[in-house]
Amino acid sequence: MSAPVLPDGLDTFPKLLARNAKQWATVPAYREKEYGIWQSWNWAEVLEEVNALAMGYVALGLNEGDHVAIIGRNRPYLYWAMLAAQAAGAIPVPLYQDANAQEMAYVLAHCGARFVVAEDQEQVDKVLEIQDNLPNVEQIIYYDKRGMRKYDHTQLTAYEDVQAEGRTGHSRLAPVLKERQAKLDENATCVMLYTSGTTGKPKGVVLSNTNIIASAKASSEFDNLNAGDSVLAYLPMAWVGDFIFSIGQACWTGFCVACPESPDTMQADLREIGPSYFFAPPRFFEGLLTNVMIRIEDASPMKKRLFHKYMAHAKKVGPALLDGKPVSFGDRLKYWIGDKLIYGPLKNTLGLSRVRVGYTAGEAIGPEIFEFYRSLGINLKQLYGQTEASVFITQQPDGEVRADTVGVPSPGVELKIADNGEVFYRSAGTFVEYYKNPESTASTKDPEGWVATGDAGFIEESSGHLRIIDRAKDVGKMADGSMFAPKFVENKLKFYPDILEAVVFGAGRENCVAFINIDLGAVGNWAERNNIAYASYQELAGHPQVLDTIQNHIEEVNKSVAADEMLSGCQIHRFLVLHKELDPDDGEMTRTRKVRRKLVGEKFDDLVQALYDGAKTISTETEVTYEDGRKGSIKATLELRDVAVVPVTKEVAA
């Protein structure tokens, strides 16, 4: 790797933690709502907890360089379990907690973890289920003792017992920790994260201390994050973003990481914490907006009118105010009144009042959704990143925020665009390698350190911002040679609250067709208001009136697609509404909820064929996997519909 980029003495997490415990001893570091109250730990306490656990690990026989798998939802104890692994010279490997036993088995076997830290009985059960095929797993440490009494405890230890063991052996174990930590430097592996991968088996991305700390440092400075900020940690711990925010940036800047009480209370906890730095995937913002709109639909006519009137004004001047552009006094006054009446209370309800820096990434966000939040005065920005880049590739600086770009290169990142449009980058955050997979490493990262993103895009000349078109391998040509970018159309469709997910097909074909997933919340609410009875998702999805509505949406999207000269060929000619929701358990989406286009196309091949051969209806049967791994099947007869398209006047003959 390149020359040192980190300040001396702050190049590993144990060192950062020691500094924080000194510098911010009484500043809250981690919070978690438990028993109805926000419990809090300051940096000094965190250091003590982490060291106790690290010594406990050593007492149990953890070696330097071992991988420690961590499974569970966002809880301070599990973040400490990761920090403790580093403190003991080992490497944390967080796993997706909703992964089923088979998926977990692959990762656990691949990383060869001897120690597994599991949150509760549910996760322990999963590990035990696959343990027969995993000779490498020797110790399972669990945090929540509930229901664990009757287990065979030869390989199981409670988290607090491990800590107690560590505290007891302090005089013997502390020097061991010290010795191990002295050997760590900026090139030591910091963490290994498995990419969910829209194709194939997950890959273990090895990230060094330089990668993580340099990225955390640069991004914290970019947005001026400091010890007074706070975040809500609710995204999967196995995702690189959570590691950067809740460990990397938190340890670098000393800000406070709050963990929700349970996954279901996230929204209420968000409101109570009021984070100043907030990150969410577009899906979250879409869902939130859908909920707002549903509730406005149910509100009294007076409130409805007030809302729409002031939202129209906010759309007009809100983003300009946020960007510091000139706005007339009258408009400012009206916005101020709107803020008192509508925007302020709405932001408060959503828990976004204090957001100073908000990011969305992972997928493109619908411009209308993006503008909605910006117009409320929430500084929502976009960033573009990857696990392999320790998140940051590009991000939008304050004042240069636009819906259709992903921003300028992050500090220290170099970009280049290949001839085929694929985006390449090089930075201090660039990953070391894929674990035990030199072929993939070689095909992704060239000897000079340039990494292929797999996304096609271009740099806008006027602003220097990067624009992403689509996954490079998804961008194709249609039969007539015009460009096919499915994501572009899907994102337009997904803006409608009724549409949760859309999959567009058309590569190498005459025209495009689409699968639609309806949003049960939004459409269900509409059905209730219109006295339409339904018993299941499937029944609602097949309702003729629902199909009419979706058809209208698609026709509107076609009009807007036709306006784009490059992509006008991507208008949708026929569609169907799927009889089931696309689900990670069925492999149709990744755990981070990105559609696996190819797999969906293969799995529902009969439906794609039917869309192209002009059939009016089709009967199909689909296998589904339940959360506990059992399988069942759904039978359905689906109606296929034609959609009006806007005739494209291609290069009118001169």
Binding site: Y35, I37, R149, K150, S262, T265
Partner: protein, 269 residues
């Protein structure tokens, strides 16, 4: 029969907590319970089953003092129990849930469960109106117990929701929460799974087993779902037309001819 025994899954069951001796309960000319004796031991899950109208709920009402039997004796912790009001019995450490949910529909989950602590609150109305001082301290202490119950039953998300707005399965869980808030030694559950779907039943079974395991609470339950009863209980009493027709482990009861006849009917041909 010796006083303590060990269950197949390795729990040690202690001595008699409650003993019913020759209980007979009449409503006018109707005999609801006829000369029934059985005991409930420390730490066990004891089921009472039987066809409709067998007298199961009446039996639970006798235990918690809602009905007073005309004949027979009730021994609680080795002492003969004098006739008492239900609230006095509740103070002795017996809590229950009801067949038809009996919650305060307009109150939140939290407030409903707080009512389970009512018997343990000692400050009087004047102090509570003053609020600062003993009443506040007492409320905080009781709230902590309630919050642990909420955490245990995983109902944090509905803490502030009025129970009337909750689905049936969750209301049942809230009712269990209210009973648990009283920190009972003996918990009576009247058809805790009636009207639930399979998933809700699995959840409820899990909670019942966890209550027993975590807090060592003795549980007596009435249930119609035989699968559930046979899976989770240690011993079963079978009633039919007010009489006891069987008593023993699930396996013993399952093979008891009188029980089979009561459930499947007898061939009169």
């Amino acid at each position: 029969m010796s006083d303590s025994y060990v269950t197949p899954d390795g729990r040690t069951i202690g001595g008699k907590v409650l003993e019913m001796r020759n209980i007979t309960l009449r409503f006018g000319g109707v005999v609801a319970i006829k000369d029934i004796s059985f005991d409930i031991r420390e730490g066990e899950i004891r089921a009472i089953i039987g066809p409709n109208g067998a007298g199961k709920s009446s039996m639970l009402n006798v235990i918690n003092g809602f009905y007073h039997p005309q004949e027979g004796e009730i021994w609680f912790h080795g002492e003969k129990r004098k006739p008492m009001k239900p609230y006095q019995i509740a103070k002795q450490g017996i809590a229950r849930t009801f067949q038809n949910i009996a919650l305060f529909k307009g109150m939140s989950t939290l407030d409903n469960i707080m009512t389970g602590r009512f018997n343990q609150m000692k400050t009087n109305m004047a102090l509570q109106m003053l609020w600062k001082g003993p009443a506040e301290r007492e409320e905080v202490a009781n709230r902590e117990i309630v919050e642990r119950v909420i955490d245990f039953l995983e109902i944090q998300a509905i803490r502030k929701t009025p129970v009337g707005a909750l689905p049936y399965g969750l209301q049942k869980r809230v009712e269990l929460g209210r009973a648990l808030a009283a920190q009972p030694k003996l918990l009576l559950l009247d058809e805790p799974m009636a009207g639930m779907n399979v998933e809700e039943k699995e959840d409820m079974s899990r909670f019942i087993l966890d209550v027993n395991d975590e807090f060592g609470t003795t549980i007596a339950l009435i249930e119609h779902d035989m699968g559930v009863v046979m899976d989770i209980s240690d011993r079963v009493v079978v009633m039919d037309y007010g009489k006891k027709i069987g008593d023993g482990t699930p396996d013993e009861v399952r093979n008891n001819q009188a029980v089979i006849d009561a459930y499947l009917g007898v061939d009169h041909g």
